[in-house]
């Protein structure tokens, strides 16, 4: 909302430096985004009269213009070289005299153009930062004193424009008067609406216009006035300037007044050509499916039963309530009788219609947030006053106001103690009443040190005690509440799962992987391309199809990251992600699981598995095992399942080369993906201390010939069980294949350490332990000792 200081001063004697006023507004929650000084850069620009026009002897596109600026002798006019040809002798024009700094920064100097002197510049509207035609110079209204500074001539004072960010709960501040009211209250100066003087003439308005509200849910109040003998023309410069400053384009006097009143008072309004409205009758009702209306912008709109309509006496729609008027009754240059409407509509209905038709206007914005239902009369009167002044209109006697579904809001009981509790203040009931009164919240004392507060009709956002507390706080000043730090009775800490997430990240970082953050959205074919089940949950209203499915795995996102890096010649990237996947579920919400995944470009399943075991070691995941098995998206013979404490923890291996082809990735890609929850559980239990034996250990190595389909992990399990407490460690050393061993078997070598806590083991004991191992492995793992 752009608000001019001079405009606000119509309502209250607001004085102060622009920056100070802006700070006050901001402190009231009316955040000033920018302050602009307007009209100030017209110093040196005066009204000049054209007394002669001559062709330039050397140039076709320039003419020589003689102007008078007032005090020079009649035979010494100023010669100006001018590129525009739209003026005539006798016209008044704005002249930038020598030394003027133009709004754009250009300094006007005496100079020669093709041999002829130019003693200033005649200005176009855009050169003065005014709305208007840039092709020709600006021709001023006749009758202005020659030599008068342009600011005075146009009634444009040096002014300050505040660009204010108005929050959704403050429809009242979408008006100059509303902002002025808030500001005046804080500054302690009186606020008042200037009195409107209207002398209505016969006939009485109700004899030429009538209104019927058929839907009270749709319309709270509806008012009309009738203007006769209207001449639609151009608005005076002062109004055009204010509209322009407010960000609206001047169009014609009636449209401009309409916008002016809306900006000034916050009440949107609408005008009909009364001669085009049968019987001057307006009917307010809800629309029906199948009805149509051509709106002012020339579009044919399909009406539905959720839209509000203004119809004529024949029940034909002539306006879309609160959103846009109809074309059939539009004001034209030939209009002389104007039916003026000011109404207040149901917020939700306007919101729905403007959303449905994607028609957002200054009017619909105000209605959606809530216009002042009791401000209708003032808006009608103000409009009429301006129409009399600017369009020569006469006004019929009185306004017609029809009551709809307006329910007055009940008073709100506000307890002094509650106010002081929430704001940390010590205000009395009188203090509170004094803060509320200037912004229209009248109050009277009620029982138990409380006030009954009447909410003004322009504040639909205020309905409960806390709303009033906010108003009190706003006008008292939030800073007066002070600052204190509450002292919780608990210690701040992370949960084990949150700590574990940090450990996991640091383990991956320590292993040389960098943390990526792919978007969790996938394209419809991403899961299939990654070789995964296509069971991702889809988004109802995705922005783009490429981001329309929720991921069920971290694989597609990290594959894209690897592909992106490879295509930018970042070879061999190693990335990880801790992220949420979304799995289908029959519960209220999808099954969200947090996983961690690592991806290594140019690495094989061996390196991925080594990484896994390294991470397991760092994270203390003792007893984690890997068994080969096919995993969706992974290399069918180079991937497996990771098991930890009897639960599947995740997967490890290489990405399926077919998937890599689909993602355009070259080389092998190592992969591991684990659920974080079991890791968190493991991390939350501390390892138990085992005393270190002081006796020497006995170390032996054994090799077994084992069929290929018997995994090492199974042998290790057998050995750990068979070894008993004296087997302190078993380490897999290597696998060895040869023709001798056959095509389907390999030799696996292990190293064992035996040790007792209380003695040195005898050779006989070690031999027995060794034999136990051999017997167990041969018995359970289809293995034979290699000798």
């Amino acid at each position: 909302m752009n608000v001019l200081l001079s405009w606000m001063q119509q309502f209250a004697p607001i004085e102060g430096e622009p920056e100070e006023l802006a700070a006050v507004l901001t402190d009231l929650g009316l955040v000033v985004e920018s302050i602009e000084t307007v009209g100030a850069s017209w110093d040196g620009i005066v009204v000049a009269k054209v007394i002669d026009l001559r062709p330039h002897p050397e140039a076709d596109r320039i003419q020589l213009v003689d102007v008078m600026v007032g005090d020079q002798p009649a035979d010494e006019p100023l010669q100006i070289c001018c590129g525009a040809f739209n003026m005539s002798v006798g016209d008044l024009v704005p002249l930038a005299t020598l030394g003027t700094i133009m709004p754009g920064g250009l300094e006007i100097a005496r100079r020669k153009l093709r041999g002829e002197w130019s003693n200033g510049m005649i200005c176009s509207a855009p050169e003065l930062e005014l709305e208007g035609d840039g092709d020709g110079i600006m021709v001023l209204e006749p009758g202005l004193p020659i030599g008068q500074p342009l600011t005075e001539a146009l009634g444009v004072e040096t002014d300050v424009l505040f660009d204010i960010d108005v929050e959704g709960n403050r429809p009242d501040a979408l008006s100059v008067a509303g902002v002025a009211r808030d500001l005046a209250a804080r500054l302690g100066v009186p606020f008042a609406f200037p009195e409107v003087t209207l002398s209505g003439s016969a006939p009485a308005t109700e004899t030429v216009a009538s209104v019927e509200i058929q839907s009270n849910d749709l319309c709270q109040r509806f008012g009309v006035r009738v203007l006769e003998n209207v001449t639609v023309g151009t608005s005076p410069q002062w109004m055009a300037s204010r509209l322009t400053a407010a960000g609206m384009r001047p169009i014609n006097s009636i449209v401009d007044i309409s916008n002016y009143v809306m900006l000034e008072l916050g009440q949107p309004n609408h005008t009909y050509d009364l001669d085009l409205v049968p019987e001057g009758h307006l009917r307010v009702r809800m629309g029906s499916d199948g009805e149509t209306l051509r709106t002012l912008d020339g579009q044919d709109r399909s009406i539905t039963e959720v839209d509000g309509l203004i119809c004529d006496a024949n029940d034909q729609p002539i306006g879309l309530a609160g959103v846009m008027g109809g074309a059939s009754t539009e004001i034209s240059d030939s209009t002389t009788r104007v039916l003026l409407e000011a109404a207040v509509w149901d917020r939700m209905t306007i919101a729905k219609t403007s959303r449905r038709l994607n028609l957002r206007s200054e009017a619909s914005t105000r209605f959606e947030r809530g216009a002042d239902p009791l401000g209708i009369e003032r808006a009608l009167d103000r409009f009429a006053e301006l129409a009399v002044e600017l369009c020569g209109a006469t006004v019929t006697e009185g306004a017609v106001i029809v009551e709809g579904g307006l329910t007055p809001s009940p008073p709100v009981n506000v307890r002094t103690a509650r106010v002081n509790h929430l704001l940390n203040t010590s205000l009395s009931a009188d203090d509170i009443a004094g803060l509320l009164s200037p912004i229209g919240f009248s109050s009277r004392t009620a029982g138990g040190d409380s006030l009954d507060v009447d909410v003004p009709s322009w504040r639909p956002d205020s309905s409960i005690e806390e709303d009033i507390v906010e108003e009190i706080g706003r006008h008292y000043g939030y800073d007066k509440s002070g600052k204190r730090v509450p002292t919780p009775s608990q210690n701040g800490e992370l949960t084990p799962a949150q700590q574990s997430r940090r450990h996991i990240r640091r383990a991956f970082v320590g292993a040389g992987l960098s943390e990526a953050m792919p978007l969790p959205f996938l394209a419809p074919d991403d899961l299939a391309r990654a070789g995964l089940d296509e069971d991702g949950i889809s988004l109802t209203n995705p922005l783009v199809a490429e981001e329309s499915i929720l991921r069920t795995s971290l694989l597609p996102g990290l594959l894209k990251a690897v592909g992106y890096n490879q295509s930018h010649r970042n070879e061999g990237v190693q990335l990880f992600e801790v992220g949420t996947v979304f799995l289908p579920s029959d519960q209220t919400l999808p099954d969200e699981q947090e996983w961690v995944a690592g991806i290594q470009a140019g690495a094989s399943a061996v390196e991925a598995t080594q990484l896994l075991h390294h991470l397991a070691g760092v994270l203390g995941l003792k007893g984690l095992t890997v068994a080969n098995g096919e995993r969706p998206g992974l290399h069918p013979t180079r991937s497996g399942t990771v098991t930890f404490r009897g639960r599947t923890l995740g997967e490890v291996g290489e990405v399926d080369p077919r998937v890599l082809d689909a993602y355009g990735i070259a080389g092998r890609v190592g992969w591991l993906q684990l659920a974080t929850e079991p890791i968190a559980e493991a991390l939350s239990t501390s390892p138990k201390y085992k005393k270190i034996s002081l006796f020497p250990s006995s170390d032996i190595d054994l090799s077994f010939v084992v069929p290929d389909d018997e995994p090492v992990s199974k042998l290790l399990t057998t050995m750990e069980k068979a070894g008993g407490p004296l087997l302190r460690s078993v380490r897999f050393l290597n696998a060895f294949r040869s023709e001798q061993l056959g095509a389907d078997a390999r030799s696996l070598a292990f190293s064992y350490r035996f040790q007792a806590d209380d003695r040195t083991l005898t050779d006989a004991e070690v031999a027995e332990l060794r034999q136990n191992l051999i017997d167990a492995v041969e018995g359970k793992n289809r293995a034979s000792l290699r000798t």
Binding site: G29, L423, K483, G492, G512, S514, A516, M517, L539, P584
Partner: protein, 333 residues
């Protein structure tokens, strides 16, 4: 024999002194000090000497042996030193020639860095960390936060809905505020929590917008919590996170879930202001939705973006950089 000792010693010392290697020295040691060494063989003759001479002769033999031992020890030290010197010379490495980068260095994402730093600041202030699902019910995301169906604020959130359950009933949370509701429903006051998390808006990606971003939410419910507690908490956070030269202010604003509401700004040491986030006293409707009696308890809440702090800290000027996963970006921090 005894009289030969000086000559024996002289010969041995001379031989030892010119030993070229420790191996040669070991052989010489064996020769001159071993069981068969002439000096020691002299002991056998002691018995032949008159009793009164034995003592002197014995001492002479010991002295001879000690002289040779000293010579050997001295030579051993010399040889060890020169052999180490030779070894060091031959093992010379130029460490400037070592190929670096063979071991990849991992980096935490800057959003994670900011996230964890923020958590740590609030943990230091006695907060715990609460979490909630990213796909939420519309009730938790809107209704419970005083944004009933049809409320214009729902439009302002540019919500992404999810095809799960009844149409329109589930969505990608548009803010971390639903965690407030979940926390209230899960535990009795007093409550002092922060809720960092990932949130979603139906926004086209540009330098300042992403459909996915991260927020941190704070909620304090206790007896007698006032606007002053909110302002004090924001101020304490500001100095802890940004530094002692920074301060904060609250100014009125509007949010459906707080009343009174405020925006909080951070003032930099140079006097300029940074709009950081929204806050306010939790709206009684929200407290009731969480099963908390607003007459017994009062509460404040605040929230702000994590990503922007991460960008500011490192001078990154485009939000999209956070999500491209280019290693040249990730490895800078």
């Amino acid at each position: 024999m005894i009289e030969d000792l000086p000559a024996l010693v002289a010969a041995a010392v001379s031989a030892v002194a010119t030993a070229a290697t420790t191996d040669e020295l070991r052989t010489l040691e064996q020769t001159h000090l071993g069981k068969e060494a002439a000096v020691l063989q002299a002991r056998k003759q002691l018995g032949d000497l008159p009793k009164e001479d034995r003592k002197d002769a014995g001492r002479a033999i010991n002295e001879a042996r000690e002289q040779i031992e000293a010579a050997v020890e001295q030579r051993r030290t010399e040889l060890a030193s020169s052999e180490r010197a030779a070894q060091f010379d031959s093992e010379r490495l130029d460490l400037s020639e070592v190929v670096v980068g063979e071991r990849p260095v991992g980096h935490r994402h800057i959003v994670t860095q900011a996230w964890e730093e923020l958590e740590d600041v609030f943990i230091g202030m006695g907060f715990r960390v609460a979490e909630g699902p990213q796909v939420e019910t519309d009730w938790h995301n809107f209704d419970a936060l005083n944004i009933p169906p049809g409320h214009p604020a729902r439009d302002g959130f540019d919500t992404i809905y999810v095809d799960h359950g009844e149409s329109g009933s589930t969505l990608l949370r548009t803010h971390t505020s639903p965690v407030q509701i979940r926390t209230m429903l899960a535990q009795e006051p007093p409550i002092h929590v922060i809720a960092p998390g990932r949130v979603f808006r139906r926004d086209t990606a540009d330098a300042t917008h992403m459909p996915v971003f991260h927020q941190i939410e704070g909620l304090v419910i206790d007896r007698n919590i006032s606007l002053a507690d909110l302002a004090g908490t924001i101020e304490a956070f500001t100095t802890a996170y940004f530094g002692s030269g920074f301060s904060s202010r609250l100014r009125p604003n509007h949010f459906p879930f707080t009343e009174p509401s405020a925006e909080f700004d951070i003032q930099r040491p140079d006097g300029s202001w940074l709009e950081l986030g929204g806050c306010g006293m939790v709206h009684p409707h929200v407290l009731r939705a969480g099963g908390v009696d607003p007459e017994e308890w009062s509460a404040f809440a605040f929230g702000f973006g994590i990503d922007r702090l991460a960008l500011m800290k490192f001078g990154v000027d485009d939000l999209r950089e956070l999500f491209t996963n280019d290693i040249r970006f990730l490895s800078q921090f």
